[in-house]
């Protein structure tokens, strides 16, 4: 019996060793973030360009949201949670995670919304569910929150759609989402006796990532649309090499799936069925790293980490407003 365990142990160690040696050195790999331009003659912008994301010159900007039942009163723990998020510490954490903090006007509007709350139902530990894009941000907030108030926030990330569902089914107290709730979802929540209050908490630029060996650096919006609806199937159709395009995106429970679709597939078509679907952002990056013909979309925080670019890199381009609130 012990020999059997020994044999298995040896085999496992050998396999792991082989895997490591097979160049799983993802430190050497990285991805490239594409620049986007609205038309072939426009200026191209990167999601790393904060101004471009804020004013909308970068086309795939969006807000990241939290949803609560009513506005919390000052005695509620959710009030304290939102206060943390909207003060400098909380917004700095957004930057630390690689995303963009709210612009001043949005921040003021949210702080104003936080006044005069009357829902004091939740005063201790609470639960939050939803977007995987917001995993790191929410984790940073929760950690700081625990340190300063001692209150535990339990967060799960089954995707924005599932999180919103948990929220309107009263399974969790707060939803985190990388897209806005739809009218239908708000109606269902109302039918369940929930007063939906929407909180913008951060700004995201959806980054289009490709393999670092892909010579393409820029795409127009219509080219991007053509790629993701299946019209273009080879990189040489969009100015690259002769290589089949392989697509990596999110699955239907994801907020990013929905927001990307709204922003890119503007003619209301569907994603091509050839797109591989993942349930988190994190899984997309290694795929794009390892396949030369790959293209995927992730929240900017994931792209920055994967491409090794710091948050301060900006491009000196004229920006135009297309920020989407996260």
């Amino acid at each position: 019996m012990y020999i059997a365990i020994g044999v298995i142990a040896i085999v496992v160690i050998a396999a792991v060793g082989a895997a490591l040696m097979m160049g799983k050195g993802s430190n050497d790999k990285s991805v490239k973030v594409l620049l986007l331009k609205k038309t072939s003659s426009s200026v191209a912008y990167s999601p790393m360009d904060q101004e471009a994301v804020y004013n909308g010159s970068y086309s795939l900007s969006r807000y990241l949201y939290l949803y609560t039942d009513g506005v919390p009163s000052t005695s509620s723990s959710i009030y304290k949670w939102l206060s943390l998020i909207y003060n400098t510490t909380g917004q700095q954490m957004v930057t630390d995670a690689g995303f963009y903090p709210l612009q001043t006007s949005d921040l003021n509007a949210m702080k104003a919304q936080l006044q005069n709350g009357n829902n004091s139902a939740v005063t201790g530990a609470f639960t939050e569910s939803g977007s995987t894009t917001m995993t790191e941000i929410a984790a940073l907030w929760a950690q700081s929150f625990k340190q300063s108030t001692g209150i535990t926030v339990t967060i799960k990330t089954p995707g924005s759609g599932a999180g919103i569902k948990d929220f309107y089914n009263k399974i969790v107290d707060v939803a985190q989402a990388s897209r806005a709730m739809t009218t239908a979802e708000k109606a269902t929540a109302a039918a369940n006796g929930i007063t939906v209050v929407e909180w913008k908490v951060a700004v995201d630029g959806l980054a289009i990532i490709v393999n670092k060996d892909n010579p393409v650096t820029t795409l127009t919006l219509s080219q991007l649309e053509g790629i993701f609806n299946g019209t273009y199937t080879n990189w040489n159709q969009v100015g690259g090499n002769d290589k089949a395009i392989s697509l990596y995106g999110r699955d239907s429970a994801s907020g990013s799936y929905a927001s990307f679709k709204d922003l890119v597939l503007v003619n209301k078509e569907n994603y091509t069925s050839a797109m591989l679907q993942f349930n988190t952002n994190a899984l997309i990056v290694p795929e794009v790293e390892s396949a030369v013909g790959a293209i995927g979309y992730v929240g900017i925080g994931f792209a920055k980490e994967a491409s090794g670019t710091s948050a301060d890199t900006t491009l000196s381009e004229v920006s135009s407003p297309v920020a989407r609130v996260l």
Partner: protein, 303 residues
Amino acid sequence: MVALKSKKNNRYMRKIFEGGMTGLLLACALVSVLVLLMVFMFLLGNSLPFLQNNDIWQFLTGTHWLPFGDFPSYGILPLFVGTLMVTLVASLIAIPVGLGATIYLSEIASPQVRNVLKPVIEILAGIPSVIYGLFAALVLSDWIMVIFEPNTRLNALNGALILAVMMIPIMVSVAEEALNSVPRNLREASLALGATRWETLKMTIVPAALPGIVAAIILSMGRAVGETMAVIMATGNSTQFTFNILASMRPLTAALAIDVPEATVGSMAYYSLFAVGLVLFIITFALNLVAEYVLARFKEAYH
């Protein structure tokens, strides 16, 4: 008189006891049948709202699976092909390897080797699917990339290979039992007639153990058809309709796991997913029927 009377009581008590036990055991057997029936009714019942309001032919042969959104499409053909391709390719690999391993273990290996290999294989059968899934996603896919250079790192071949790995321990366990239970005297009879070990294996032992071997194959195929976790992590889950084993696919089980969390209770998408579950149930049921038929045919021939 007293002695006789107590004997009568004892007999009475025993009758009650035995009757009760029989009843209890019968109830256990019935429970299994009942549960099966209940599952089927549950699936059927919740599929009806979908089946009654949609074209069933379109459901079975449509090539687009998109149950959500403004213009949903409920064609399960890509999902069905996904299950078919990964199961088929996995079986093509697992059956020869599994049977080969079985024969090696049962007939050729020395007792020392057998004492190491058999527990190893049994442990392999107990490893959770998610571990296999991780292995496929992180390691196996890289190997496939190097050898086959597919367009996407995660693809049906990855799923098929990891399924094969998961099928083999089951097959070996059951088939080895079958081979070992062939009576020794049949083996001796064949050898005494001047047959070699291989001829004995081929002409006597394997045919005699065939019902068990078929059961082993069907059981492991059943595992492949029903496996969810490992294929979700391995195949990339695209919904395209293709027979290309190097492309990403979404088997029926993966579709259920991915779409159920998103479906609102009572929506058409919700009911369509039950219809998918019904299809899976029917496939597994059919597999078992085929196994029964094969077993019956061969049993007839020998006894």
